[in-house]
C-alpha cells in the first residue's frame, strides 16, 4: 500500500495512503447502505467514489506496473493474489458505478440526463455490489497487518505519542509489497 506510485511531494507516502484509504473505506460503507443514507446521497457519493478510485490507482501505479510485468515470472504469491483481487475490484467497481448511473433516479436527471429504467442494469448493479462487499472484506483482511501498523503509527500518534513510538520501534513499516 505504500509504494511510491505517484509521489505527493513533501508528504510521507504511508500517511497519504492511510488517509486516502480510510476516506475511501468510509465513503464505501456509506454508499453501500442506501437505506441508511438515502438514495440521493447514495448516487452522488457513488459518482465521487469513482474519482477516489482513480486517486488510489495513481498512488499505486508503480506497484501495478511492476506486478503486471512480473506476474508470470518473478513475484510472490501474495502479490499475485493481491493483483487479481485488485483487478476484480476494479472491474466490479466500474460495473457498479456504470450500471448505477444507468439506473440513476436523482443525480443524472438533476444534470439533465435521463436514461430509461432497465431491470437488467438493476440486476447487474445489485449483483456486482454484493460481489464488491466480499472482495473489499478480503482486501482489508489481506492488508490488515498494514492497516493496524499504519493506524498505530500515524493515527494513534496524534493522541498517544508514546505508544506510537513503541510501535515504530517494534515493527518496521513494511507494506505487503515489501517496501519499507
Amino acid at each position: 500500500m505504500a509504494t511510491p506510485g505517484t509521489k505527493v511531494k513533501g508528504l510521507n507516502p504511508n500517511k497519504v495512503n492511510l488517509a486516502v484509504d480510510v476516506a475511501i473505506f468510509l465513503v464505501f460503507l456509506l454508499t453501500m447502505a442506501p437505506r441508511f443514507s438515502g438514495l440521493v446521497i447514495h448516487e452522488w457519493l457513488s459518482i465521487a467514489f469513482g474519482a477516489t478510485i482513480v486517486v488510489h490507482l495513481l498512488l499505486h501505479w508503480q506497484w501495478i506496473r511492476q506486478v503486471t510485468r512480473r506476474f508470470f515470472s518473478k513475484t510472490t504469491w501474495e502479490s499475485r493474489i493481491n493483483y487479481v483481487l485488485n483487478g476484480l475490484l476494479f472491474i466490479s467497481m466500474t460495473i457498479v458505478i456504470f450500471t448505477g448511473n444507468m439506473i440513476s433516479e436523482f443525480a443524472l436527471p438533476q444534470l439533465g440526463i435521463r436514461l430509461g429504467q432497465n431491470f437488467e442494469f438493476h440486476r447487474l448493479h445489485t449483483m456486482s455490489a454484493d460481489f464488491i462487499v466480499f472482495l473489499v472484506g478480503l482486501y482489508i483482511a489481506l492488508h490488515w497487518h498494514w492497516v493496524v501498523n499504519a493506524i498505530k503509527r500515524y493515527a494513534l500518534a496524534l493522541f498517544f505519542p508514546r505508544s506510537a513510538r513503541a510501535a515504530r520501534a517494534e515493527t518496521p513499516m513494511v507494506d505487503h509489497k515489501g517496501n519499507a
Partner: protein, 120 residues
C-alpha cells in the same frame, strides 16, 4: 504529463468495461421492464429504484429495530466477519512463509566453520 497518461489509461479501461457491460445487458434483454420476473412490471409513476431501494423512512418498516439495523448495515457486518476470519489466516501463512525462508537461509549459509570443513 505522466499523470494525464495514467488517468487516460484508467478511463479507457473503465470505458471498455462499461461498453462490455452494455453489450451484456443488451444481449440479456434491454427494454425489459420486468427483467423476466413476473409481477415486477413498472406501474404508473412508480420507478424500479423505488421498489428496489426503499427510502430511509421505508427501511424495514414494521420490523424489529435490531433487524432494521442489521439490514441497514449489512455490508459493514459482512466485511467485519470476513476480516475476523481471513486476517488471522493470512497472518498465519505469512508467518509460516517467513519461518520457512529464514530456515532455508540458515541451512544454506554455514555461519560457523564445521570441524570437517577445516583442513587438517
Amino acid at each position: 504529463m505522466k499523470i494525464v497518461v495514467r488517468i487516460l489509461v484508467i478511463a479507457l479501461a473503465a470505458v471498455l468495461l462499461s461498453w462490455l457491460t452494455t453489450l451484456y445487458a443488451q444481449s440479456s434483454g434491454v427494454g425489459n421492464t420486468n427483467g423476466g420476473r413476473p409481477g415486477f412490471e413498472a406501474r404508473g409513476n412508480e420507478s424500479s429504484t423505488e421498489r428496489q431501494f426503499p427510502t430511509r423512512s421505508d427501511a424495514g418498516r414494521g420490523r424489529p429495530g435490531l433487524y432494521r439495523a442489521i439490514e441497514m448495515f449489512q455490508p459493514t457486518l459482512i466485511i467485519t466477519a470476513i476480516v475476523v476470519f481471513v486476517a488471522p489466516a493470512a497472518q498465519f501463512f505469512r508467518r509460516r512463509r517467513k519461518q520457512r525462508l529464514s530456515r532455508m537461509t540458515s541451512q544454506s549459509i554455514p555461519l560457523t566453520p564445521m570441524s570437517h570443513d577445516t583442513a587438517p
